[in-house]
């Protein structure tokens, strides 16, 4: 039955034991290793963005604080958002895509392993190039949304905006490449029997996220390219001094920017939808409704962008249209929350740390969702837009939402990643500290918004009545940092001397729990055949239980204990993706070089052959 030991495959064209050492990591094409790389680097970026946040909160802790210059403060604000969105939350979701999706759909790797490695290296180089702006004191300081005309050379002459454009262009390539890869993987690499409507919800959310990325990121690429051309080649797209309409940037940005919000939250929905059933020991309530609701959110998500522009004077027709579409999108979002509640209801709820984070996610996300509906109400938004209300809302959605879900996912899949358990007590402590600190930090921001405090203020005078709640938020922010530190401690303890996890510590329902922790290089000794939505549960539950509960007893997963297939075929390591990523980054990084030394054309032009050598060698290197 459910004994899940693997004999090593008989025929492999590469060593079974993963080689160790730096070189093996630089050349790896294994989705699990790339997932780890994504996870670690995005967590480090998360810490960097968190330090930005603490600096912001330090500055705002008291009125008339001159700890940081306004310029640096604006830089922290911009980099906090940019880092968190593009370098922490998205790639951390991608880390889960990488590690979990192939396991959940019963595949040995993603569809294009080397493209996957390429995506990671491009992401890492893009993030490093963007962060290196700190070293030369040219921190992007125009806001993460980069509204033109503030970003044109006339008003932002320094390298600050160039760092932002170049960094985001590189990160965009990584994101699009990764999205195509996971789209193909989920469409094409599913195990036999795993129809789309049997996929774990996390895979569904990944699929929808990739569609959103593929449709939204090109728009941003174009907007950034136009800005880059404005700054370097004298085009006039956003040059208001030569008559441009400043709204063009806003439209292009938010056509991308709103789907981006769903790109950030969809994986979180997926993680929560995996955890809640497992820790309630009850299948997801309304699976089909969940899938349809997510599709509806993704589709409608392309029709609501101008609700970020309710103060732009777009006119009553546009206001009405986008207000109604925004309200409409609240319906499928509500459906998702109700379905989670429906799953909890009548379950057998085990409040282990992953579940705590999941429940905390629902409770917190509801507040963010409701304040979102308030912003969709145009006249109310006239007051709340660009005030601390929005800061509160975005953090309830992205920290209380996405980040809680990612922490839930980390606690849930940690045993699978590492083979060891996280400490339960420390996990509980992390959760409770984080929950309380989160609300102490961000709930007062609603009050600040109501009290008329605009966002992105590097300094505020005494006597505004904002002092107290700002101080509270600052204290909360440091408590939040402490909760993250608790998690880091927990992780280190677990890696050093954590309890062995076994294959299936949570009584999981999906395929990844059928194999060893951490999984072997080839994942599944034999590709499983799937005949239900919760294949592992169906397999694990004995006949009598199953009959009593209305299951037909059957073996749903053919992975376990079967002999290894004769033709396991794993891809060879390759360093060409890394070479191609360096070439691509050089092409963009050239724009950061000064013209007068000829360095701008030089680095960019050197990048082209490097990229071409990378891609050509990648195409022609011998098949694995």
């Amino acid at each position: 039955m459910a004994t899940t030991t693997q004999a090593p495959p008989r025929v492999l064209r590469r060593p079974v034991e993963a080689p160790s050492g730096l070189w093996s990591w630089l050349t790896t094409v294994d989705h699990k290793r790339i997932g780890v790389l994504y996870g670690v680097s995005s967590f480090l970026f998360f810490l960097a963005g968190g330090i930005d946040a603490l600096l912001i909160r330090l500055q705002l802790g008291k009125p008339m604080n001159e700890l940081f210059s306004p310029d640096h403060y604006n830089g922290f604000v911009t980099m906090h958002a940019t880092t968190m969105i593009f370098m922490a939350l998205m790639p951390m979701s991608v880390a889960f895509f990488n590690y979990i999706v192939p396991l959940q759909i019963g595949a040995r790797d993603v569809a294009f392993p080397r493209l996957n490695a390429f995506s990671f290296w491009v992401f890492l180089l893009g993030g490093l190039i963007m962060s290196s702006s700190y070293l030369v004191d040219a921190i992007p300081n125009q806001g993460w949304y980069g509204y033109a005309p503030l970003t044109i050379r006339e008003y932002s002459p320094g390298l600050n905006v160039d760092f932002w454009i170049v960094g985001l262009q590189i990160l965009g390539v990584a994101t699009i490449a990764g999205a195509i890869n996971f789209f193909v993987t989920i469409i094409n690499m599913r195990a036999p029997g795993m129809s789309l409507m049997r996929m774990p919800l996390f895979c569904w959310m990944t699929l929808i996220t990739t569609v959103l990325i593929l449709l939204a990121f090109p728009v941003f690429t174009i907007a950034l390219t136009e800005l880059l051309f404005d700054r370097h080649f004298g085009t006039t797209f956003f040059d208001s001094t030569r008559g441009a309409d400043p709204l063009l940037w806003q439209h292009l940005f938010w056509i991308f920017g709103h789907p981006e919000v769903y790109i950030l939250i969809m994986p979180a929905f997926g993680i929560i939808s995996e955890i809640i059933p497992v820790f309630s020991r009850k299948p997801l309530f309304g699976y089909a409704a969940m899938v349809l609701a997510s599709m509806a959110i993704a589709f409608l998500g392309f029709g609501v962008w101008a609700h970020h522009m309710f103060t732009t004077g777009a006119g009553p027709v546009a206001y009405t249209f986008f207000a109604l579409s925004t309200m409409l999108i609240a319906v499928p979002t509500g459906v998702k929350i109700f379905n989670w509640l429906g799953t909890l209801y009548g379950g057998s709820i085990n409040l282990r740390p992953p579940m705590l984070f999941a429940v905390g996610f629902i409770g917190t996300f509801v507040i963010g969702g409701l304040s979102g509906v308030m912003h969709g109400t145009v006249p109310v938004d006239w007051q709340q837009s660009d005030s601390y209300w929005i800061v509160a809302h975005i953090h309830y959605v992205l920290f209380g939402g996405t980040m809680f879900a990612l922490f839930a996912g980390i606690h849930y899949w940690w045993p699978k990643f590492t083979g060891t358990m996280l400490n339960d007590k420390l996990g509980q402590a992390t959760f409770w500290t984080m929950l309380v600190a989160f609300h102490v930090t961000f709930f007062p921001m609603h009050f600040l918004g109501t009290a008329g405090m605009p966002r992105r203020m590097s300094i505020y005078p005494t006597g505004t009545g904002w002092d107290f709640w700002n101080l509270v938020a600052t204290v909360g922010a440091f408590a939040l940092a402490a909760s993250v530190w608790l998690f880091v401690m927990n992780a280190f303890i677990s890696l050093r001397r954590g309890e062995p996890a076994g294959n299936d510590p949570w009584d999981g329902a999906t395929l990844e729990w059928a194999i060893a922790s951490p999984p072997p290089v080839y994942n599944f000794a034999r590709i499983p055949t799937v005949s239900s939505r919760d294949p592992l549960w169906v397999e694990k539950r004995s006949e009598e239980t199953a009959v009593e509960l209305g299951f037909a007893p059957r073996r749903a997963v053919a992975v376990v204990a079967d002999p290894v297939e004769a033709r396991v075929h794993m891809p060879n390591p390759s360093f060409w993706p890394l070479v191609a990523a360096v070439g691509l980054s050089m092409i963009f990084a050239g724009f950061l070089m000064p013209w007068y030394l000829g360095a701008f054309p030089l680095i960019t032009l050197l990048g082209i052959p490097v990229l071409m050598v990378g891609i050509t060698s990648w195409s022609f290197e011998p098949a694995g």
């Binding site: 039955m1 210059s69 306004p70 310029d71 604000v77 125009q142 503030l150 008003y155 008559g243 309409d245 400043p246 020991r281 309530f285 699976y287 409704a289 103060t311 732009t312 004077g313 009553p316 009405t320 109604l324 309200m327 609240a330 319906v331 459906v335 929350i337 109700f338 509640l341 009548g346 379950g347 709820i349 085990n350 509801v366 409701l370 509906v373 308030m374 109400t377 145009v378 006249p379 938004d381 007051q383 609300h439 709930f443 007062p444 109501t450 009290a451 008329g452 605009p454 992105r456 590097s458 505020y460 005078p461 005494t462 006597g463 505004t464 009545g465 004995s542 509960l549 209305g550 299951f551």
Partner: protein, 382 residues
């Protein structure tokens, strides 16, 4: 179930293995955690109580006038409309919030796994329930949507014909204020009469700004090459605090403004005064004249009607604020500093030290005495 199927979770023991005493201890722990959770849930309410306490605190800004800018301290018809809608949405959201959180907490407590629990019923869904909770929020949103659209249309329609027209031009980092019907040009302090609709045309000379006086209503963006409109009718006199609310560059946080809502008579008097040449008030003629002479260095950027230099009376091409009757303003540097001679000296000597990135050049070469004379001259322009 066979042993192998047992999940490895540690608090997932079989009932027989837990002693009665252990069970009691667990129940106690559960009760304690329940209290903790309740406290966490109550936190927002406690916080709300704090807020109401703070809102009534007497507060004063640098010039002694209140700086509080609460969006729910309603002082105009427009903000009244917004506040009514806000209340409606807030209450509905509150109801939904309470329902969802109650359901969540209830489910988590009620269905908490107890030792010996059997596998719960494996329910996959219920069409009726699902249709219900799709339609109910939709209906709720219709209740919100109707007044929303009504209010959009009302606010976006033209203001009454007898409105006072005011043009606001955003600059990095100050506000130019023009009254096209009155021929008045001023900066950073806007005077309007109480009880009459003020219709604002908003545009920008450089980057994007946003014009926001929270007690009067919402905000609206100012763009170069675009003119936006907004209007409201204040129903209480007073000084209202405003602030640029769209990141517009380095000194965005210093871009404040004051809205003075005057009695109609006081407003007319103010407007009339702005149109006649200044009669400077001073008692030290030598100092005044020295300041007047020094002001010749300023006329390239600033207008000051009544200054003998013709360039000072020529508004074309000026990039700085109009300084006519600057002595009668309460603040300088876009509402950041009190209008005192000492602050003027500080400002003129090195504006960048106060508002980094602003366009005014520093006059550090001037002696303290010269600077004071200049400040004296400006202060006399009442």
């Amino acid at each position: 179930m066979p042993e192998t199927q047992q999940p490895a979770g540690r608090d997932d023991k079989e009932p027989g293995r837990t002693s009665p005493a252990g069970r009691a201890a667990r129940r106690q722990t559960a009760a304690r955690q329940r209290w903790l959770r309740l406290a966490a849930a109550l936190l927002p309410l406690i916080a709300l109580a704090f807020l109401s306490a703070c809102a009534n605190e007497a507060i004063g800004g640098p010039s002694g006038e209140p700086l509080d800018a609460s969006t729910i301290d309603v002082k105009s018809d427009w903000n009244q409309d917004i506040f009514n809608l806000y209340t409606l949405v807030f209450l509905l959201a509150g109801v939904v919030f309470i329902i969802v959180e109650t359901a969540l907490l209830y489910s988590v407590f009620r269905f908490r796994r107890r030792p010996g629990d059997r596998l719960p019923r494996q329910i996959h869904g219920n069409n009726l329930v699902e249709i219900g909770w799709t339609l109910a929020p939709a209906l709720l949103l219709v209740v919100v949507a109707i007044p929303t659209v009504q209010l959009i249309i009302r606010q976006e329609s033209p203001p009454p014909p007898d409105s006072l027209r005011v043009e606001i031009i955003g600059h990095q980092f100050w506000w130019e204020v023009r009254y096209p019907d009155l021929g008045v040009v001023t900066a950073n302090e806007i005077h309007i009469p109480v009880g009459r609709t003020a219709a604002f045309s908003l545009t920008s000379a450089d980057v994007q700004h946003a014009f926001w006086i929270p007690k009067m209503g919402g905000k609206k963006d100012l763009y170069p090459n675009r003119v936006n409109q907004m209007h409201f009718n204040p129903f209480e006199t007073g000084v209202y605090y405003g602030q640029c609310s769209e990141l517009c560059g380095e000194s965005h946080a210093f871009m404040k403004l004051r809205l003075m809502v005057d009695e109609p008579a006081a407003f007319d008097r103010w407007a009339a005064e702005q149109n006649v040449p200044t009669t400077p008030l001073f008692d030290d003629r030598a100092r005044f004249e020295r300041g007047q002479l020094l002001f010749n260095q300023c006329v390239a950027c600033h207008v000051l009607y009544g200054h003998p230099n013709p360039a000072a009376n020529q508004p074309a091409g000026k990039i700085g604020p109009n300084l006519t009757r600057i002595g009668s303003r309460t603040t300088i540097a876009a509402g950041w500093l009190d209008n005192t001679p000492a602050n003027l000296v500080r400002w003129i000597r090195n504006p960048d030290a106060i508002k980094p990135g602003n366009k005014m050049i520093a006059f550090e070469n001037l002696s303290q005495e010269d600077l004071e004379a200049l400040a004296y001259y400006l202060t006399s322009q009442k």
